[in-house]
């Protein structure tokens, strides 16, 4: 469904040090530099896949999404979405896709969202009966009710974001690019959005590429992740293999029936968090059974839990490694 080969997006921007003298000099002579927002990436997505596209700020995620959506022209490389070349912005292509941006809105601010939905219906030429059925489904799924008839400016951020999703989906896109769709939302609204995206993916078979800084979004929705850092891909695979590759150690949480000392806990492995009533340990995966047996035998354990390291930690570890690799490569050069 989506194929990216050797995609590069470079910008030429002018560079100016701070200060009045530099500003004056820049009026007459400008120094330019090339920013490599995306620097040669390859990946593919099959039809119906829901893939997390992750990376730190400025990694090139949004640039890639915008290129896939046809908003930006690649500097080099080949991009295909369902057989189309996005930058040509053919109607047949634009009717199949949508890019939802958590930080930008298309709803008409002074009018109810229903007016934007109707405008989009006309633009996408959706037959009225299909539109009504789809709108009913979306409004029910997102529990919007009469909110769609209230002026947008009177809606809360979460309500607006739900309406943004409806506006983006009235034409039933087959490919959905979601750029931080849950940003700024409270926890319950994030859960509601996640549920909705999962159901949309399952019910319509749409292909979804999602960027989010909330790892809960990724864990809940994406069996596979593609990681980009400084414009280059650093990982492409399942979430489980990402964790296995980057942070294979397990987290053992122990809750105690009576107070315990730090020394007792340290005897079992690396202590991540410690309190007299509850502690968290990091242990090699192969030693889980032995350590658990030892903990049960030597400490007043009331309850225990074994799980992978939090995805946030896995990601920051991965980004730190990529940064170190880049530094060492530059040093060799």
């Amino acid at each position: 469904m989506i194929r990216v080969r050797g995609l590069k997006k470079h910008y030429r921007v002018h560079k100016r040090p701070p200060g009045a003298a530099a500003a004056l000099k820049a009026l007459f002579r400008r120094d330019w530099q090339t920013v490599k927002a995306v620097d040669g990436i390859d990946f593919e997505l099959g039809a119906g896949e829901c893939v997390g596209f992750l990376g730190p700020n400025g990694a090139g995620k949004t640039t890639t999404l915008k290129t896939l959506a046809g908003l930006l022209h690649p500097s080099e490389g080949e991009v295909r979405v369902d057989g189309h070349e996005p930058q040509r912005r053919e109607s047949a292509f634009l009717e199949k896709i949508m890019l939802v941006m958590g930080q930008k809105q298309q709803l008409l601010w002074d009018l109810p969202p229903a007016e934007t939905f109707e405008l989009n219906r006309a633009i996408y030429d959706v037959p009225k009966d299909v539109y009504r059925r789809r709108l009913d489904e979306l409004v029910t799924l997102l529990a919007l009710g009469e909110l769609v008839n209230k002026p947008t400016r009177q809606l809360s951020l979460g309500e607006r974001m739900k309406c943004e999703l409806v506006a983006a989906l009235v034409h039933g896109p087959k490919v959905l690019f979601l750029d931080e769709p849950t940003i700024g939302l409270d926890v319950s609204m994030q859960v509601a959005m996640r549920d909705f995206i999962r159901r949309y993916n399952q019910q319509t078979g749409a292909t979804i590429l999602l960027t989010s800084h909330y790892m809960d979004d990724v864990e809940a929705l994406c069996p596979r992740v593609v990681v980009i850092d400084k414009g280059r891909l650093s990982f492409d695979g399942t979430l489980a293999s990402l964790v296995q590759q980057v942070k294979p150690e397990k987290r053992l949480t122990l809750r105690f029936a009576s107070p315990t000392t730090r020394a007792q806990v340290e005897a079992l492995g690396t202590v991540v968090k410690f309190s007299a009533a509850e502690s968290e340990l990091q242990i090699p995966a192969a030693q889980v059974s032995a350590v658990v047996a030892k903990a049960l035998g030597t400490l007043p354990v009331r309850d225990l839990n074994v799980e992978n390291a939090p995805l946030e930690e896995v990601m920051s570890e991965l980004f730190a490694r990529t940064a170190a690799d880049t530094r060492s490569t530059e040093a060799v050069r």
Partner: protein, 266 residues
């Protein structure tokens, strides 16, 4: 472009949306009405000053004939401020904030979508002022325009609107390259203000500039001459062809410029 019918219905829907917005801000009607009366008065005052002394005036144009030019100016100003400016000024903001993304993601012509995105319907008050000025001028002249004259004027006004729109598209396209183009829009508005005078007031190089580059003559002087029954057909044909050239050039500039869209933010 896909089916013309679809674009006609889209235009209707965009107009309806502007109507709903206008209804939300009913006070705008009073404010716009008052402003348009003030603007009409401001357009007329210099003319009264010029013609106060019988020895002065604009060569080849009596006071009443100059009033017809002002009537054409008010008519075009109402169309410019009511139908052309609102949508295109919004584009500059969309480019700055990166929200033009939503226009470019739609399977419809982006130039059409932005141009019809917003109308200031209350600016229709300017048309009333133009009608009053025309009625006053022709009553004092003691004659009325012929049917052919009115038809010629309608064609020329359409050509003028097309040229104004095309010039705006070129200005807006500049926003894809440089972020702040406010000064360019002020310059354009100030230059358009010169269209209240018959083009014969300009001499030498200025005359060439205001006939070819920024064809103020075509915008107000020629339609006024059509109403006064003294426009020759070749001028009319040349004006329509000129408008076509402006439109084609503006389209080419727009299409080239959207390739430079960098989609701010995120």
């Amino acid at each position: 472009m896909r089916g013309l019918g679809r674009y006609v219905s889209l235009f209707g829907l965009q107009l309806r949306t502007s109507g709903l917005l206008a209804a939300q801000y009913r006070w705008d009607f009073l404010i716009d009405g008052a402003l348009s009366v003030f603007s009409a008065a401001a357009a007329l005052v210099p003319l009264f000053v010029v013609y106060a002394d019988e020895r002065r005036g604009i060569p080849g144009w009596s006071f009443e004939e100059s009033l017809v030019v002002i009537g054409c100016f008010l008519l075009l100003q109402a169309i410019l401020e009511g139908a052309i400016n609102p949508g295109l000024v919004a584009v500059i903001e969309h480019i700055r904030k990166g929200t033009l993304d939503f226009v470019l993601l739609k399977p419809a012509d982006a130039q059409f979508l932005v141009s019809t995105s917003r109308f200031q319907l209350w600016r229709v008050a300017g048309l009333v002022n133009a009608s009053i000025v025309f009625t006053f001028a022709f009553t004092r002249l003691g004659r009325w325009p012929s049917a052919v004259g009115v038809l010629q004027m309608a064609v020329l006004v359409a050509a003028a609107v097309w040229i104004l729109y095309s010039l705006w598209i070129v200005i807006v396209s500049a926003a894809f390259y440089v972020v702040k183009i406010d000064n360019l829009t002020y310059l354009f508005t100030s230059l358009f203000d010169l269209a209240r005078w018959p083009v014969t007031v300009f001499r030498g190089a200025l005359r060439v500039v205001f006939t070819v580059l920024l064809p103020l003559g075509l915008m107000t002087t020629y339609p006024a001459e059509a109403l006064l029954g003294r426009l020759d057909w070749p001028t009319l044909v040349a004006s329509v062809l000129g408008a076509g050239l402006f439109a084609a050039a503006a389209r080419a500039v727009w299409l080239r410029s959207i390739r430079h869209y960098t989609s701010a933010g995120g």
